[in-house]
Symmetry: C2
Subunit: 503 residues, 2 copies
């Protein structure tokens, strides 16, 4: 243990998870490490839930994180009803239910914004930061585990810090972090990063010794990723995208090794990255949030020369393999705070190719990433807005239909808009790719319908668009029918019009 807890002054701070949990009072705000099931604080939040259940008294806390948590922490906290407000992202079915029935407040924030809001004092101040670490150095620096997320900013701004020192997580993670935290706005220098593999900060989170209230020893690994293997449709999406990138290189608009790649989280995004395995592209770099399985496959295949992210989230088998063979990845990886991975300054400077997933897109290119049928929260916008707005190429991918064809992902009017027509360059489905750059809305509509919509919905989309044209306007619409597809799905269980269904 002492090779993990090298600052001997800390010995007195070791406590049980139960004791640490006892410090957290009703009404407090806690900041938990964790980004997409990686490197999350596990023991203290679960001990807190146990304690509250036993006490059986009204209890509520605000919970800030990096992104979604694993280890059922979000589920258990939501089930216990102890979360008053949660931000900036979640992806848990139990929590989702609470958010959608209005019993839990969720603030769906750009992942690069949380740190600024904390720094500005624009949200409730953090009482306890609870962060997972793989080591504490000789001089008391916290070495995060498989994610950095918002941990650095939580530690900086919290009144107290609790460290979950995870003895089971590979100690080899030490050295892959680069912690850089901007000063307050207006007193800030340019962020010096100009290369994906550039180090500019410290190897861990520097923290005032007196602020550390407790250290809890743990040994539970991250929850494995639940992504599924690529299927025929996601492979087709990847093929369309790679064909497009090939043409961009041929036209001289992209260098041969493209530009740093960012990819959203989940199976579709992972499948798209997988598509690069069989491509001619080499010497690729990644500047993304979550490093999923496909990134490691591409590292193994020699396709990617360097990957910068803010968390490593892997399936069970991959997690074991990477952990056991970490030495071969160490020099090709960096984990940074999410404020840096998602920073507009860096995204614009490096000129990222940003690939994110859509729930639906409308005929003018407005994208919904969050709310099914306009209202039901899935997970949150995550970093997709940070990237889409500032990237060189803002690409959204989705299968053209869902629910066995009862839902079209291309609709007349997005029932919730997370990415506006101004921020969407490319839409890709298994049907094809629509390059919207430099197009006016009427040009976009035709391209999206022809290239991206599923054939079973194409005529229905054209009919809407043609009726809209009789009304005129820059983005023609028939407002009284704009959401008729969503209403039909809610009422009849399909977006397909009856006459079309008969064909």
């Amino acid at each position: 243990m002492w090779e993990r807890l090298r600052d001997k002054r800390m010995a007195d701070k070791i406590v049980t998870a139960e004791e640490a949990a006892s410090w957290i009072e009703d009404g407090m705000t806690i900041g938990l490490s964790g980004f997409t099931r990686a490197g999350d604080a596990k023991a203290v939040p679960l001990a807190l839930v146990e304690r509250v259940k036993k006490e059986n008294k009204p209890f509520g806390v605000n919970v800030y994180t990096g992104a979604s948590l694993g280890s059922d922490v979000d589920a258990v906290m939501a089930e216990a009803g102890i979360v008053k407000k949660r931000l900036p992202f979640q992806a848990d079915p139990v929590m989702r239910k609470k958010i959608n029935d209005g019993s839990m407040a969720f603030v769906d924030q750009h992942l690069s914004h949380t740190a600024e809001l904390i720094r500005q004092g624009a949200m409730d101040a953090i009482d306890y930061a609870i962060v997972e670490a793989v080591a504490i150095t000789e001089d008391g620096m916290i070495i995060p585990a498989t994610s950095v997320g918002n941990s650095n900013i939580f530690v900086d701004y919290a009144k107290h810090v609790i460290i979950e020192l995870n003895l089971a997580q590979t100690a080899e993670l030490e050295g892959i972090h680069d912690i850089y935290t901007p000063e307050v706005q207006g007193e800030r220098e340019p962020i010096p990063l100009t290369r994906v593999d550039q180090r500019m900060g410290t190897a861990g989170i520097v923290v005032d010794f007196d602020k550390i209230k407790g250290i809890v020893l743990t040994s539970q690994l991250d929850s494995p990723s639940t992504i599924v293997e690529p299927d025929a449709e996601t492979a087709e999406i990847a093929a369309h995208l790679i064909a497009f990138l090939r043409e961009e290189v041929k036209a001289g608009r992209l260098p041969e090794n493209l530009a740093p790649l960012q990819s959203g989280v989940g199976s579709v995004a992972n499948a798209v990255f997988n598509g690069f395995l069989d491509s001619e592209f080499t010497d690729l770099t990644v500047y993304s949030e979550v490093l999923q399985d496909a990134v490691f496959d591409l590292l193994d295949a020699g396709k990617i020369s360097f990957a910068s992210g803010c968390s490593i989230t892997l399936t069970a088998d991959k997690m074991q393999y990477v952990s056991e063979n970490f030495a071969k990845y160490r020099d090709k990886l960096l984990l940074r705070p999410q404020e840096i991975t998602n920073h507009p300054e860096i995204i614009r400077r490096l000129g990222l190719i940003a690939i994110n997933t859509a729930i639906e897109a409308d005929i003018y290119g407005n994208v919904n990433s969050t709310n099914v049928l306009g209202s039901k929260m899935m997970n949150g916008i995550g970093g997709s807005g940070d990237f889409a707005r500032n990237a060189r190429l803002s690409i959204f991918v989705t299968k053209s239909i869902a629910k066995g064809g009862k839902v079209s992902s291309i609709v007349p009017f997005s029932s919730h808009v997370d990415h506006t027509e101004h921020d969407v360059d490319i839409i890709v489905t298994e049907q094809g790719l629509a390059d919207l750059r430099g197009l006016a809305p009427r040009e976009r509509a035709l391209k999206i319908i022809e290239n991206c919509a599923h054939p079973m919905y194409r005529e229905q989309l054209k009919a809407y668009y043609e009726e809209a044209l009789t009304r005129g306007g820059h983005t023609p619409h028939v407002l009284e029918k704009a959401f008729s597809w969503h209403v039909r799905y809610a009422q009849e269980g399909t977006m397909l019009e009856k006459k079309a269904a008969v064909v």
Copy 2:
């Protein structure tokens, strides 16, 4: 004239506007200087229209600019039907009509994006850059007039350059420009700007001598701004906003001289700035696009210590006064390319207070800045998205009602979304201010309805929201009624429900 045209090699390049216009061929793409009626190329575009009218042959060009043009250039070009595609912004009634009837393609772009798209080669390449100048230096550098806009990037990437050397515009403008152009993405250093008054570039646009095909001598001043005086409602908006900023300072969330201010274009935005005249705030700075009348009033009053923008757009009287007294403003002003005034890197670093105008906002904080009733283009998103996304405080202002109360600016669902709920911190109307930071959608809805909606629409909004609550969800909606207010206005001429109208 030779004090304006100091590079004697240029003498042979002087041509008439008619001759310059004769070089422009059907199908070409031209890049015109001009940002919000300031510093626009005037003579050659108008001569081109005359030529095309005489020739009476099919003719069309793509027209890229900084933002809107004055001197009826947009109107005359649109009327002549010679514009195939126009970007990134316009504000002319004749052109608007063409855009909305579908006879002219308009790409409504973030004003910071155009330069990147040109650099990437993602749009039609520019054949002729036509830029206004107040001087050409000894070594052939172009000194822009009252705006920089996209002129630097147009000159860099155009095949040929035509300069309109304006002899009537005050020569004292020389020295207030700071031209800095980033390298291509991926090969770019951090933009060094950390202070509003910082110089980092050249005093003018450096151009290859051989690229300059012609110099046209002109003497027409900019079209004056058409903004109107503050009225009772805009004064109330300003008062609410200033009271809010005062509280932010008191709470320690802003320094006493606030943070660099950005303000949108037009009468409401100008009125809000006017509100600072009677406030206690001093030593303010401005980092904005257009410097309107109020900025000069605030400079005169000693309230503003420095203003950085990309154009100066003034009413007729103010224009004359500023021109005649330019010496007293010279050291307190800088004009930069719009890529720099609107750059996410700088906006985030400086932590701007961004104040932009909305056409409508919905109960969850989504803002429409462009399309009336979802379809009819007004002017374009302009820089509002650049600022709102990346600022420290993203503030939107609007009067709570329009058309004598027949239109509510607070609606159930924004009929077009330019700024998503994730990007809007504060909404202000003459009724009050809603601070949305750190609030979940249901919390936001109550605050917006109570604080911002006009009393005549408040009950109607509550009724919608309460019905939506019965459906549930993170952002509850009744999709079949979401646009019913807009539909009612289109059909009955008012958004007011009949029963409410009876009261």
